[in-house]
Amino acid sequence: MNQIGFPILSLLTFLPLAGVAYLATLRGDEMAVASRARNGALITSLGVLALGIYLWMAFDPSQAGFQFVESLPWLSGLDVQYRMGVDGISLFLILLTAFLTPIAILSSWSITKRVRELMMAFLLLETMTIGMFCALDFVVFYIFFEAVLLPMYLIIGVWGGERRIYAAVKFFIFTLAGSLFMLLALVWLWRNAGTTDIVTLLHTPIAPQAQMWLFAAFLASFGVKAAVWPLHTWLPDAYGEAPIPGTIMLAAVLSKMGAYGFLRFAVPMLPQAAAAAEPLMFTLGVVAVIYISFVALAQTDMKRMIAYSSAAHMGIIIIGIFTFTVEGIEGALFQMLSHGIVIAGLFVCTGVLLSRGQTLTLSRLGGLAAKMPAYAALLMLFSLANVGLPGTSGFVGEILVIVGAMKVNFWVALLGAGGMVLGAAYMLMLLRAVLFDKLSRPELGALADLKPGEYAMLLPLAAMVLWLGIYPGSFTHMFDASVNAMVQAHIAALTPHTALAMVTK
């Protein structure tokens, strides 16, 4: 049992399942079931959020290792245990999931098709995602990682747009193909270390030759999830076709699963291979930032433009992780949080237009600032945060990543930062096309400004953007210890002599 005496991580993980069970029992006419399902799902996810905040309060930031560790025997004969635990790296990703799920559920309020099933899918998704971030056993991690596919496939396929079937199948097959290679890597690591305990695996040395293969397998799986160029081709389809709440979860939370995989497995377990892959990953990251930004510039649809912007920012995160510096990795982690919140805000803004029956084609929008000032202000805030304006969350993460990159490689820093200028270009284009210009169609003038429900989604996101931007310390000091330990371990693994010197000193 852990320091607070009750299995908080299991509770966080499986509380949404209790919500699913409750929703399954609902009976009655369709309208009543729908509204009770919405409320039930919202209350469950708020409960999870409350537990998550409690976890944050109880978390001890001075420890680098895993906390709140739980373990139970599970697959007998294979020495696979049900192990859960958090450290500074996973803590905020759990909180991010817990924070964004209620917002995604709120943003689905306008969906009227098979509401109960949609809510069940979201709660299942929350269980799988939080479980994945908590898992301290590789098999348990893999199960949650894969299981995310099931609800997401249905969310895209049932509630998505016109080409939803194509998008859903492509998403499923791409991710499955990637993660099955991780399964092989998992079995190999298992055989190598004799256990699937992540803590043990992190300290088990692996022959450099084998590391290359394992890294390739991890890249196949986490690269697809994080939509690293050129494995990102499922992303525009999935983001574009998924319903707004699904896109929020995909872009804000699911894409972090890939980055988390790199941070948790690929880098600490395979230090030599990760170091050797550094040029490759920098290239992929820079290409993502620059090339995908250009693609974003060419989009004519608001949702797709934001989708590509999301993929471009994943490039920054990848660059940050592979600098192997404290600044770079903290920047990547910070950027993961910031990106999650900002992208969610942008997609919620997109959803606001959709729920008013508007098209998302940029050329048919315009001039909304005059009629919807509150909406315009918030969309402006999220867009500028996405660009990395100082004072918003986006700035802190990007500056840290660039400082980290500068320490390692000047050109990566230059090109990465250059890519962000492109980001500013397309976000400003988007703002002009949606908010300014003149009204392209008279009916746009009749749109109402934000409703209370929409404020309930957008204001917490905006508050988080500012909090992260103005006082980042309240977040970074939670993961300082873990990131420092990780970077130390990485340096020690690459240069045994320094490690020895550090011990003797």
């Binding site: 697959l75 007998s76 294979l78 049932v158 499923f172 055989r191």
Partner: protein, 473 residues
Amino acid sequence: MNPMYLPLIPGLILGLGGMVLLLIGVLSKRDQTCTCTYGAVLVLVLAAAFCLAAPDGMLFAGLLKTSLFTRFADTMVYLGAAAALLLSLDYNRREAMARFEFPVLVLFAVLGMIVMISAADLMSLYIGFELQSLTLYILAASARDSLRSTEAGLKYFVLGSLASGLLIYGISLVYGFAGTTNFISLAAILANGAGYGTIIGIVFVLVGLAFKVSAAPFHMWTPDVYEGSPTPVTALFGTAPKIATMALLFSVMLGPFGHLLAQWRMIIEVLSILSMALGALAAIGQKNIKRLLAYSSIGHMGYALMGLAAGTLAGTQATLVYLAIYLVMSFGAFACVIAMRRKGQAVETIADLAGLSTENPGFALALAIFMWAMAGIPPLSGFFGKLYVFSAAINAGLTTLAVVGVVTSVIGAFYYLRVIKVMYFDAGTPGFDKTASSVRFVMFAGALVTCLFVFIPGPLITAADAAARALLG
């Protein structure tokens, strides 16, 4: 009674029970199908109870041998047969083919299977093999007025006799070169290596058995027979005989021929790779769900053979776990196929499922669960079967096999997903008839087990481990 004969009781119950039910059916004036079916289920339950209580033993001077391994496999066969009987009850009545001989034949087939599983001599092996084969030929053709069913029966019979011929030819070669048919003596003789004659004999035995588990390239009969046979019979074909034959393959190949692992391992590897590849590729184009499940079962047998190719304790355990999980998924899926009836007519194409998720969410969810489980997506049970066989294969150094398994899993996922896609994403009104409660029971019990396995995997895995230890000593 001599306690030595206790292991014989389940077999006696099955044989005598079958004859008593036959007498009831023949002598009674009224139609006794229902009584006979429930009677047969009862006989199976009784036999299973006695089987589980029976001690290990050697019977008839080494012809049959029971151990924890045989009891494990027997239990799966009993479960499979009982589920098939439950499914047949309603289906046979609606298709106007309800006859009391049906459950009786199933009982005799089960008797054949448990003889196969417990065989400790090539002769008893062959007798058990033939008893189950002959009854299954009749069952395949049991819809007498249906052209497809009789065709399936005939096809199965002709190709099956070929396999039997190969098997008996192999047995005679082994006997001719080794001088005995007893497993223990064979193991002692073959421990010092074997000549070409014996090896050729073993290959023939292997081919005969591979035919029964429908491992590619000996799978040709499977799609046609699956499609043509009445669905409960297909459900039976897909599970009990395959499990029995797979258990037999293990007890023969790792028992008397265990010392020659290096010689026959390559054959099993090839069978496994071909089955997985064929199962994945050939299923893509299928429109009929029974044919789809036929190819899927070929693929599953490929995965199960991976454990045999490993030839280790872990491999045996992995295959046993795989088979047990497969049994449940497979029955669930066939229960769903049986539930596909529109206006009194059975419909079998995948397109008929369009829009099922809006009309009957429970049914659609159950079928989706089985499809996902068969594709091996965690947290459903099918994933654990794959995890165990992959880890056994990699631990035995068969990395190629595991990589092929992974690739075919991805390809396979595509067609399983298609079924889900049709149910959830396509618009349509299936308008299926109300499902009989026995079918619903098999469907939902199967779905529940498939879903909840992740929470309590312990019992099955421990039991499979103990069974594997019993086989390999």
